[in-house]
Structures are given as structure tokens and as C-alpha cells.
Amino acid sequence: MLEIKHTLCPSCSVGCGINVVSYNGEVVGTNSYKRHPINEGKNCLNGRNSIDMYKNKLKNAKISNSDVDFEKAIDEVSNILKSNEPEKISVICSGNNSIEEVNKIKEFADSNGYNIGFYADNFVNIAGDVASYDEVENASNIILIGDILYENPLLGRKIVHAKDNGANVYSFVENASVTANISNEVCGSLDDVLDKIEDSSLVIYNHVESSDDLDKINDITVKNNSKLLAVFSKCNSKGTANIITPSSKEEMVDLLNNSDVLLVFRDDIKSEIDFDYGKIKNIISFTPCSNSTSDVSQIVIPISSWLENDGSFVNAMGLTQEFKAVIDSDDLSEIEVIEKIQDKL
């Protein structure tokens, strides 16, 4: 029958609540979760479309693009792991994983001596104080790097509130954008927009070109007694970064270069890191639905989606939020799959 349950949106790191509608045990839609303190029932298109992950779920495990029995695929994974040197095996963790999953992945990698890599939008070595969303709404001087209003609109909304309250907003963003439309001034370069920082400003970014740029942003912000808010593209990158140190693009490429076996957990690393993935002997993806990385994987293991799991995410401002499964699942969770593989090693 019709059921509406609360959960968290997995489409970025803002940490919005969302209601999921199910009918006779199938996910059929979303509905606004107006009691949620962060987004008050408002969700962006990505958030509302996040249930597509459930609708497009993989039905079978795959080896070399052919459907195979799940147990056979697990056996094959354990055989590969046993027949390769641990130092040539790399585990890719993701901001798409819950805190509980990240802990399990790290434990799995550490106990077997595997390398571990975690990429978080090239945001590494984030320094200084992290701004809360309340502080965004009450800020008087805001520096935006990236199209925050379009890409993270429920944080963007808080910037609009700050603007309505009299804040100055300066942005380094394309001129034809909603972020530009609400800015007092659109700056032509990163240096120009950083020049607008004054004491007690807020610097919000969702995109940086390089680690050098990130260092520059960090240094100037800290020197000006200001606060930062890094908006990650994945729901739990902040929480994952508390457990596994994020790597830069260059570090990720080094890791891939040194890997004969790549275990990718709930991630699409191929879409983010430019690399010749054909060079890696075995790529094994653990994912609820196919993506560009699973498309180049020798083995694909289906795992349950976030809608079918309990867990917790840490949002961009550092708040840990718990969520409950909104639907029953026949699939094994990522944690159960890891335990199954570990048992065979």
C-alpha cells in the first residue's frame, strides 16, 4: 500500500531531507519533507531524481559483462584477491558511502594490507573553521567560488537569505548564471574574488581547479579570520574525509598506476579521474546500478541502494545525520558483501 517515509538526499553534501513514496513495496516517487531543518521540504531536481538509482538497480552480478550467479561472482572476487599481492590491490572508497560503510571498507583494506584511495572533488588539506548554514544566512560578506545556487540550491537559498539581510555577495562564476544574478559583483578571476575577503567573511566553494588554488583559498581565508564551507559533490565526502584522508587528482593517478586490482565501492571513479583504466588487470565494482566505472569492470557486484539501508552521512557543515531504510531489500548491503568476501579470504 501507499507509504511515505523520511530519508536523506544522497545527491550532494548539503544534507537535505527527502520523503520517498512507495506503493506495494516499490519506490514510486518523492514528496517534500517539510519538517527537515536544512531544506524545509525543498529539493533540487537531482535530489528528486535520486530515486532513479533504485529504479535502475542492477538485477544480477556480472563477469565480463555477462550475468552470473551472485555466489560465483563473489568466489571470483576472492580468487582474484588471493592471487594478487596486497600492495598491488587498491580499494577506492567514496563519499557516496555511509559512515558505517566507510568504516567497514577501511577495516577491510587495513586488515588485508590493501591500498586505499578516496577522492573528494580535489578538496584536500582543508584548513580553518567550517561555517555552519546558520552562519551563511547571517553572514555580511560572502565569497562564492562555483555556481553554488544552481548546483547546491538548498545552500544557495541560504545565501539568498543572507543577501536579503544585506550581505555583500561576490562570486567567481560564469556571468550567465543564477549565482551571478544574485551577486553584487562577478569577479573575473580567483585572485579578484579573494581580494573581496575582509575580516569575518565566509568563503563557499564547490569547485577548484587545482590544489594550489585550494591552498590559496585556505591561506587567505585563515589570514582574514574568516570561515570556509567546502560543498562536496557527494553526500558523505565530509564524513569519509574524517576517516580516510582525501587524495589529490595526482595522488589518485599514482595509486591507479600502482594497482593490478581495483575494488571500487559505490563510486564512479572513471567519471572523475582521467586515466587509462584498460591498464588495470582487474577492476571490480560494487554498485547498486551501472556507471562508467562498472562498464569497464571485469566483475560487477550489485549492492543495495541507500534507500534500502540504515546509516549516517556527515554534511558539508559537519553535521552527522542518520537515515533509515525506506524500503525492504532482497539485495545484500555493501557491509554484508564485504563480510562475505572477507570470510572467503
Binding site: 501507499l2 506503493y23 519538517r35 525543498k42 529539493n43 544552481y150 540550491p153 544557495g156 548564471s177
Partner: protein, 378 residues
């Protein structure tokens, strides 16, 4: 038009209901007699500020839904049309819910034979987060200590765990930007007379629900629940009828005043400058149901342009359905950019209504404009 005062004869329901438990008893009657597959109503989620739409198929589960939720601005028309159109259901409806159902019946998206509508008089709803903030700020009470809330005699009143109550004038809250949602402040349909019955506490004495019976189906509901031994009724006095009418009249007058003050102030072009083309306003709109064929999805519009050109985005929706806007405010509630969408659409509906007499979801026997057999084929 017939009026009765009603209350539940079931002591548990009587105790749990906001004013005598008449509505819950009527739902129990419908479920127990197998006249419906289920009842669509609200049940508490995270706390009393969180009303979650819930489909109840067993009357034993109804007790958890008793009471009112002024901080749950939900919309049922949309849910019925999308997920329950093949079921026989009963539903508790605010005036805007009822107006949406009426518009969807006109569009053949809801079968009137499949639905019992139990109307709830409505002075307005409060967004849950706004409700919590204003209780903290104006009542100096921890919102988590509140066990129930009500709107009565122009006040938003909260009751605490220890049984004490505190009220603040809604006018004072709204002067400071709190209180009811903006669309509720200008809404001039307070009693859902298109519902089979309209229930509320206006004009009712303590422990009773004042019921306006609007049609034959409504008459059957009251008589059936009485016959089943679930409902006790009596006739209201003329004073009670007059008191209810007075409350409605005052509320409508206040709403008209708000309309006059606000319609000219909105600058649509400036507001749309923040639009991120997320389609949330359209997707949540209970009147917009033809999503697959929606013109604003068509490839002849440049989808990459953000914000979109108003004439090619909002303009199309305005021309397609603003005359049927029921001012439910759902579009405001879901807009990530806080664009006052319902104000812009409602303003146009009022203009249309002033010229043609067509009030969306209220006018009888009039098809919505631009509605034709060709449209039905979509």
C-alpha cells in the same frame, strides 16, 4: 444546507480527537463497513510539527491519526491522482485539498464515485520549521515541549506537557514574518463546501464538531456513522450557526485585505531571475498532471539556459493553468529559490475570476478554461 453538531460515541476516539472525534469516527465507519479501501490522512512523523500522509486500511490504526496538524501543509489531491486513483478512499481535506480534487475531477484524473471527502475548515497552516522557530522566539518555549497546537480566536495556541497553554496573536506573529504560510494569509476559501461534509470547531461547543452537510453523500456519511453507533449528533443553535458564519466572515475579510496589500507588490520578472529550472513548482502542482507532455519539456526551448526565459518557461505554465490555480502554496513550499510562485499564479487567477466568475476548485458546473476534448486525450 444542513448543519449538525457531532461527536464520537467511542470514548478513545472522543478523547484523541481535536473536537469530539467526529471525523475519526466517520472514517472508522467507512472502514468497518468496507465502503472504502482505505483512508488518506495524516499521522505524526518526527514530532507534532511533522504530519506525514498515511494510508490507513485498518480502523484499529485510525487512533494514531486523530487530532489536527496546523504545521503540516500537505497536499492530498496530488497523491490521490498519482497513486490512489484506482482505490475507493476517504480523505480529510483542507479547502485547498478539496479544490485540487475538484479540479482533478474536472480533468478526469479522479473519479468522484471513488472518493469520500471529509472537509476540515481551515484558518491556515504553518510551515513546520517556521512553527518551531516562532515558538522558540515568541513563546519562549522549547518547541519539543509542546504536545499539541491549535488555532483559535485569532491566536496560535500551544499546549505543554504540564497541560498549560500559551497563545500569541497570529496577526502579531505575521507582522514579524512568522505565522501562517503566505498563501494561507491571503486564502479566502475557509470552508471546503465542495467536500461531502465540512467539519470544524467554529460555532461548536467544547467536545463537539460543527458539521456542514454539503451533499447527499455527506448526509449518508452522518446517518451511516450514527446508525453504526459511532456518532452522536444534535442540531446546533442559531447562535452557533451565526458564530461560525461570523468567524468565516472575519477570516475572509482579513484575507481580502492581505490580497489587496500584496498583489501589486510582487515583481515577477525580478523573482524569476533566481529560477534554476528545477521543475519543482510544476512537479508538485496538483493541477499540473500532464508531465510527459508538458510543453516546458519540449526540445524547442533551450534547456541549458539558467535562469530560463520567463516567457518560455513560467509563461507557458501561467497560460496553461493559472486560471485553475487553487493557491495551495505547494509551489512556494518546494521552490529552492523561495520564488513566491503561488502569489504570481494566484494573482492571475483572481484577475481571471474577477472577469469570468470562475473560482478554481469552487465554481460549480463550469469547465476550466482551455479545457477541451483534445486535452483529455493527452
Amino acid at each position: 444546507m444542513t448543519y449538525v453538531l457531532a461527536k464520537s460515541k467511542n470514548s478513545e476516539i472522543h478523547e484523541a480527537g481535536e473536537c469530539g472525534g467526529a471525523v475519526t469516527s466517520i472514517f472508522k465507519y467507512l472502514l468497518d463497513e468496507n465502503l472504502v479501501d482505505g483512508v488518506l490522512t495524516l499521522s505524526p512523523g518526527d514530532d507534532i510539527y511533522d504530519g506525514v500522509p498515511t494510508f490507513i486500511a485498518d480502523s484499529e490504526d485510525l487512533i494514531s491519526t486523530a487530532g489536527s496538524y496546523h504545521c503540516a501543509p500537505t497536499m492530498f489531491g496530488d497523491l490521490i491522482q498519482k497513486y490512489l486513483s484506482d482505490k475507493k478512499i476517504a480523505v480529510a481535506v483542507k479547502p485547498c485539498d478539496m479544490r485540487s480534487i475538484d479540479e482533478l475531477i474536472k480533468r478526469h484524473k479522479i473519479n468522484p464515485e471513488n472518493i469520500y471527502t471529509v472537509g476540515l475548515n481551515c484558518g491556515g497552516t504553518v510551515s513546520p520549521i517556521t512553527g518551531r522557530k516562532m515558538i522558540d522566539l515568541f513563546y519562549e518555549i522549547d518547541p519539543d515541549d509542546v504536545v499539541s497546537e491549535e488555532i483559535d480566536k485569532g491566536q496560535f495556541i500551544v499546549e505543554l506537557k504540564d497541560g498549560s497553554k500559551k497563545g500569541v496573536k497570529i496577526h502579531d506573529l505575521e507582522q514579524e514574518g512568522y505565522g501562517r504560510r503566505n498563501n494561507c494569509q491571503r486564502c479566502d476559501i475557509k470552508i471546503p463546501r465542495k467536500a461531502n461534509i465540512a467539519c470544524g470547531n467554529w460555532g461548536a461547543s467544547e467536545g463537539w464538531t460543527f458539521v456542514e452537510i454539503n451533499d447527499e453523500k455527506g448526509e449518508e456519511l452522518i446517518k451511516g456513522a450514527q446508525k453504526a453507533g459511532l456518532l452522536e449528533t444534535k442540531s446546533p443553535s442559531q447562535d452557533a450557526i451565526d458564530a461560525r458564519s461570523k468567524v468565516e466572515g472575519i477570516m475572509i475579510k482579513l484575507s481580502k485585505k492581505t490580497q489587496d496589500a500584496i498583489y501589486d507588490k510582487v515583481n515577477a520578472m525580478e523573482e524569476w531571475n533566481r529560477c534554476i529550472r528545477c521543475y519543482a513548482c510544476r512537479d508538485v502542482c496538483p493541477i499540473c498532471w500532464c508531465h510527459e507532455n508538458c510543453e516546458i519539456n519540449k526540445s524547442y526551448f533551450d534547456e541549458s539556459q539558467i535562469p530560463p526565459k520567463p516567457i518560455a518557461f513560467q509563461g507557458i505554465r501561467l497560460s496553461h493553468m493559472s486560471f485553475s490555480c487553487i493557491d495551495c502554496g505547494q509551489c512556494d513550499d518546494v521552490c529552492p529559490m523561495d520564488i513566491p510562485v503561488s502569489l504570481i499564479f494566484d494573482k492571475l487567477q483572481k484577475k481571471y475570476s474577477n472577469r469570468t466568475g470562475y473560482i478554481a476548485g469552487v465554481s460549480d458546473d463550469i469547465k476550466p478554461p482551455l479545457y477541451s476534448p483534445a486535452k483529455e486525450e493527452l
